[in-house]
């Protein structure tokens, strides 16, 4: 099993086998960050550009650490420090980077589809680190990895995603991945933040948070993204916290072993209360630890896949793998 694409643009349409390959690989990569020397030489000589057109601490640091722990050379470019402020287009920026012979671009952009545009334009590999309200595949993968690690498996597990589904690329990537792996996904949030027709993705909608969490195995709490809302979608932050905030009263209705997740950054006291965010149930910092492992796995698998000759699409037989491993 190999990743057969040069890019990771989203989890929509990705096969269960491909997702599981990434998760299994990440489980191995996780150990590297525990070593005294947190570095392996596998991507030595590869150049990766982190092109972030939106602010990020977690995702950008996570990608950069993953790249460095695999020995890739990294360049960070942010919107403010780039020629974008002088009016350079995304296309020109990307083509200039490619002219410097880079191997992979990690891009975050406020416009949905920006990574796809680059993927079609360039020979370099592209990893989507969040495009508008579309997808954030590595966040989806690290959430799923954390769930699988904690729950043992995803099939028939009930995962609740609560918050602003309409504006959430994290929710979309989670939905695509979780549904593919056979989990039952329930979405919860104000009707103004629930895209019409979302049930077509194979999910259920339960507007009452108390009812939604009752038999859940995990609750993934989304950040209220005040910066993405063009109009006020709820009357006040206090009312949102009252109706959709995960606090101890909500936790009291959950199964005792159910997990609390949050992709960060946290608005404490809004979508999640202080005490719940800091409780034993919350695996928020483990998600962050797992994020580095997931990004290492994705970087490795994508750059490894690119090495292959294009004609070799078919799987090797067990004998061939065996024969080859003896030649090493």
């Amino acid at each position: 099993m190999k990743l057969d694409k040069k890019d990771l643009l989203g989890l929509e349409g990705m096969s269960a086998e491909a997702i599981e390959l990434i998760l299994d690989s990440a489980a191995s990569f996780k150990e590297i960050s525990e070593r005294p020397v947190k570095k392996v030489p596998v991507l030595r000589g590869k150049t990766v550009v982190n092109l972030f057109f939106e602010p990020s601490t977690r995702t950008q640091a996570s990608f950069e650490l993953a790249e460095k722990r695999l020995s890739a050379d990294t360049v960070n470019i942010s919107k403010e420090s780039s020629s974008v402020v002088k009016g350079e287009t995304l296309r020109d920026t990307a083509e200039n980077l490619q002219a410097m012979k880079i191997d992979l671009i990690v891009i975050r952009h406020s416009a949905a589809g920006a990574p796809h545009f680059l993927a079609n334009l360039l020979d370099a590999s592209i990893i989507n680190a969040g495009d508008g309200a579309h997808e954030h595949p590595t966040q989806g993968l690290l959430d799923i990895f954390t769930l699988r690690e904690k729950l043992g498996g995803l099939r028939d597990r009930k995962i609740v995603i609560v918050g602003d589904i309409t504006h959430s690329r994290v929710a979309r990537s989670n939905i695509f991945g979780l549904v593919t792996l056979g989990a039952r996904v329930t979405l919860c949030g104000p009707p103004t933040m629930m895209p019409p027709g979302i049930t077509r993705l194979g999910v259920e909608v339960e507007p009452d948070l108390r009812r939604a969490v009752a038999d859940a195995d995990a609750v993934n709490v989304l950040r209220i993204q005040l910066e993405r809302q063009k109009v006020n979608l709820f009357p006040s932050v206090a009312e949102y916290a009252n109706l959709y905030g995960v606090d101890r009263h909500i936790v009291a209705r959950m199964k005792p072993e159910a997990l609390i997740m949050h992709p960060g950054p946290i608005n404490r006291g809004v979508e999640i209360s202080q005490e719940v965010a800091d409780s034993d149930r919350a695996v928020i910092l483990e998600q962050v630890t797992n994020g580095v492992a997931i990004r290492m796995a994705v970087l490795y698998l994508i750059l490894e896949g690119v090495q292959r000759e294009p004609s070799l699409g078919e799987e090797e037989t067990a004998e061939e793998v065996e024969a080859r491993s003896k030649v090493v």
């Binding site: 070593r35 392996v40 596998v42 061939e320 003896k326 090493v328």
Partner: protein, 182 residues
Amino acid sequence: MGFRTKSTIMDADQIRRAVKRVAHEIVERNLGVDGVIVVGIRRRGVFLAQRIAECLQNIEDQAVPIGALDITLYRDDFQVKTSNPVVGTTEIQEDIHDKVIVLVDDVLYTGRTVRAALDELIDFGRPKQIQLAVLVDRGHREFPIKADYVGKNVPTSETEIVEVHLTELDGCDEVILGERQS
């Protein structure tokens, strides 16, 4: 590409005896097993390392720590190989500083796997010594690497394939010599 079996080089009894002899040699060379850690190279080296550690415990009545190395990320053929196996987990729980590491693999051939394993081990600390134990040495080295303990030397041609089967993974213990068929 097919595979045709030519002959059985070692059967289960021969493997068992070879592992036992290698364990005795390790004790003899290191004057016991104090400070010795047995580290297997994935996948089959790990099972051989477990067997050697068991023998060492029987001989010296002292538990010997074991570890496992996955060398995928240290291979020198990332640029040329058409595909790689799934990355496995490396497990080195012990502090290897100033210890004697007995590195274990099933077949010693070009020496490239051992080169990668040496590089990976060094990232965990500075052992006093690294020794190499293999079940089969089939020759054709491409690097200046030599085994300290050898279960069996098997002269081969480069077109031949040596396959080690172990009960833990393959259901039986045997070493077979085969040939590639295109």
